[in-house]
Chain length 231, copies 2
Amino acid sequence: MEHLAEKVDQCSLFRDISRAELAAMLHCLQPVVRKYHKDELLTVEGEPLSALGIVVAGNAAVTKESVAGSRLIMTLLERPMMFGEMAAFSDTPIWPATVVAQSDCEVLFIQAQSIVGQCQKHCAYHQQLIYNMLSIVTNRALVLNRKVEFLLLKSVREKVVVYLLEQYRQTGKEMFVLPLDRNEMADFLNVTRPALSREMGRMRDEGLIDYHRASIKILDVEGMRRALEGE
Amino acid sequence: MEHLAEKVDQCSLFRDISRAELAAMLHCLQPVVRKYHKDELLTVEGEPLSALGIVVAGNAAVTKESVAGSRLIMTLLERPMMFGEMAAFSDTPIWPATVVAQSDCEVLFIQAQSIVGQCQKHCAYHQQLIYNMLSIVTNRALVLNRKVEFLLLKSVREKVVVYLLEQYRQTGKEMFVLPLDRNEMADFLNVTRPALSREMGRMRDEGLIDYHRASIKILDVEGMRRALEGE
DNA sequence: ACGAGTCGGTAACCATGGTTACCAAAAAGC
DNA sequence: GCTTTTTGGTAACCATGGTTACCGACTCGT
């Protein structure tokens, strides 16, 4: 199990668990290692799921049939990334996506049951494992939640205001440097770059903000909030 | 603890745990019960969080400052609803929202640690508790994920097509009854009702679907898929 | 069966923002 | 230093879809 422990100990599921403990734990978890050739399917969307996977060698892609037939790559998985952790514990334990090997690869599967199941040998770190699992899943939920909040904002103005006020709150200064360039920011806000520039230009004209490239200065917090008030 | 067990055993956190076991478990979990008067704050957005709450009497409201000052009610909590379960296990254990008592009410707080922490008395159902916690959290993440997928679709056409094909796939029949009325459907797809009707009208004109009120008939699956292909 | 209320379709109007294209400024390469 | 590339601002054009309003068709209560 030593060599396996080495390959997965960077996985967030095993955070704060020492290499030695991890090796011991892998006995309890009874992982199954499977090898796949390039283009082989590791999981098929819609099939029942009982284990989560961790890539230990090579890489794979999470793909989604875009409701239409065409297969679209959602995420690239490489060591030591995990997949299936969402659906594994849900009420509908069904693979939500198809995972296909991008190269020859090797995947370790762990039964969902053995994560929560009390390990017979009372591994001291089993608690930590469960805690990690909960962290991973709640963090993802929080990220998605934030994403939904932004997507529900209707106008570009609102998106920009919320984003800038969020930065303002985080830094505590009315002058700060944006962590994203315009393309990334537009992408994050789910608008096009020209639309973003246009709106920021208007906001500058209205005296709400001032900026040059990535450096932003908040001039009129009240005015910005008013843009949200009127919905 | 008997009376407490009675009040929370409908909570999804305790699903598949018998009333008797639950009462025993509550000893291990060391819950703290606090009473609040109407309008009192149970939690304040931004403050550190270490426990999750379950409403056992009265009701409370999850509120969010809309970035602007105004407080907006997000969810109404009544017995035996739970709150804080997302943030409790996340990397940033901070209350993401303010919870305020809507009436005089009573809340049971359970330390996040005692959920994952192995109970010293080896409660047989502790595993089930952990499993339930994971279910709750993963289910929420999956719901959010579906929401994001719909929100990322740009045109009304795409949203309608994805929604209808999803129903089609689920029922397996090309003729079925929509579970939502037009208002709810428009709401779910995040478009206005007239826009939805307009688009469905066009799709009928084009021979993709036929419908009358809630009963829908899928006529041209290929044609519908084509609407997604061109992005 | 009749009137009130609800639900869904439709149309005209118009604001918002995506598209495309072009240019200037900054940054990177040589 | 200069050229090349990347990044960001701007403008014109136009499609999409939100808004408002209205009307007909169902539903429900009496």
